[in-house]
């Protein structure tokens, strides 16, 4: 197996140029939204709005303004599939279409997916969607095809500010720690890493440097695996089944000989 690969996204240097989005769309030949007819969000400069089956990269604009708009803050973050070491989508996929690759990334094989959409609800980060052209669930592959021939993913290649960094997880973690130290030296004490350690789903192979709470970036504070509910749900269902069974037996056996 090749070494685990991934992304380290430093949101502090993202300028919201969306070059990553365009590069991703071009390389992966993803269709345009609404047949190419532009649709504006109406309340944000962000008109992509979300990750889904035809947007595998999404530059989030977090636009925070005071009511009179005299004070403002922009946060930008290029979001993507987290390629979780313990992946919820891979856990639930009933067709085996979702696999872990030799690069420790998570890929949906479009020719095997039948579009049941179980993975969409199972992903703790809401990154998966249906591509209307293929009718299957799709998301970032971390440019598996490019990695196979030694190229870096299209988004990282296109990023002009080195906000998106691609490499081995070991190297990326070193890079992230160095950047953390640099920021703290300059007085940016809010900076922290999201998803770099094993406590979050075994580690996210796409992890982030953030300067505010995860919720502000639209990231879950405590992402979990869907299977956490399996055992308890199954036990309660069995208890229910036994009670209903006993009630049925009692009702069918004890007729009491008359009206009730």
């Amino acid at each position: 197996m090749a070494e685990p690969m991934g992304f380290f996204t430093d949101t502090t240097v993202c300028i919201g140029c969306k070059a990553c989005e365009v590069a991703c769309k071009e390389w992966n030949q993803l269709p345009a939204t609404n047949g190419g007819h532009g649709t504006l969000s109406g309340d944000s400069y962000d008109n992509t709005r979300q990750l889904d089956g035809i947007h595998w990269r999404h530059v989030k604009f977090i636009e925070q303004f005071s009511p009179d708009r005299s004070q403002g803050r922009w946060l930008m973050m290029s979001d993507v599939c987290k390629h979780c070491v313990r992946a919820g989508c891979l856990e639930v996929c009933p067709t085996g279409a979702i696999i872990r690759t030799e690069f420790d990334t998570v890929v949906i094989q479009s020719d095997m997916c039948n579009g049941c959409r179980d993975c969409i609800g199972a992903c703790p980060f809401g990154v998966i969607g249906v591509n209307p052209v293929s009718g299957t669930a799709q998301k970032c592959t971390l440019c598996y095809d490019r990695m196979k021939v030694g190229l870096e993913p299209a988004c990282a290649k296109a990023c002009p500010t080195k906000s998106i960094n691609f490499g081995t997880i070991v190297d990326l973690k070193k890079m992230a720690q160095a950047r953390m130290g640099q920021l703290q030296q300059t007085g940016e004490t809010r900076a922290y890493l999201y998803g770099d350690d094993e406590s979050m789903l075994g580690g996210l192979n796409s992890f982030y440097l953030l300067v505010d709470k995860p919720q502000v970036y639209g990231l879950p504070p405590d992402p979990q695996l869907p299977s956490r509910n399996l055992k308890a749900s199954a036990v309660w269902s069995v208890v229910g089944a036994v009670v209903v069974g006993l009630m049925s037996v009692f009702s069918f056996r004890n007729r009491g000989g008359g009206d009730v």
């Binding site: 085996g96 039948n114 049941c116 299957t136 879950p220 399996l230 269902s237 229910g240 069974g245």
Partner: protein
Amino acid sequence: MSSTFFTAAPHWRWLIVAYFFLGGLAGGSYFLATLMDLFGKSEDRPLVRLAYLIAFPAVCVCGLLLTVDLGRPERFWHMLVQAQTFRPMIKAYSPMSIGSWALLLFSGCAFLSFVAVLAERGWLPWPPLLRLNPPAPLGRLVTAVGALLGLYLAGYTGVLLAVTNRPVWADTTLLGLTFLISAASTSAALLILFGSFGGGSRDGIRALERLDASVLVLEGLAIAALVASLGRVAMVWLNGWGLLLAGVMLGGIGLPLLLHWRRPSRDSRWWIGPALVLLGGLTLRMVVVFSSDGL
């Protein structure tokens, strides 16, 4: 805020709601029929036959609904067979994977019991088929396995919702229990309705009515526990969905119970109670599925 609010909706809509409802009816009817055959009286046999006649067509519709709902319906078989290796596709920790197998195997049992009933009634004149009816050993085996699979089919749909990361669905572990109990109450109601028209014995219908009343009490408790288990997430039901859920509690559970307990005699409006139970069961699944989809 629960981390489930940061996820995307799978857009499971009417086809899935209909599947959850019909799957519950198919599995629940088969389960009740088998227990009625085992523990009931010989006069109950018409009701048992009726349930088996309901279960198979219902589960066939279930398969169609699920297939049509897929983004690529022609690949429905990928649920059961690995497309690349052609080996069986089974994932023990994926409720949808195991549910697909349960649906297939239950369909098989439901089909065997269906043709056995046709043979019993003389509509399918092939005597060997009668061996598929209890008390013949093969019949006992088929119905016992089918009843267990039917029960699984009735409840796994709720577990499937819980094993996601969606708001409401993944914020409780009681959906499987609630759906299973609701499947029992709606199946009993369906058998009461059809049985009253279709020659079910009065004694058998009364046994089903008694069962439905007790299961409805249990269902009310399960829904109350479900809402309590959601904690602050239950606030998402402070809207039309909450009103509909209250409607399920009052109109789909409370009112049928009241009609059952206060029933002076079997008057011309006897069908209202079971019809409300069925409507309540469908509405319950609508509320659970759609209220999360919009978040």
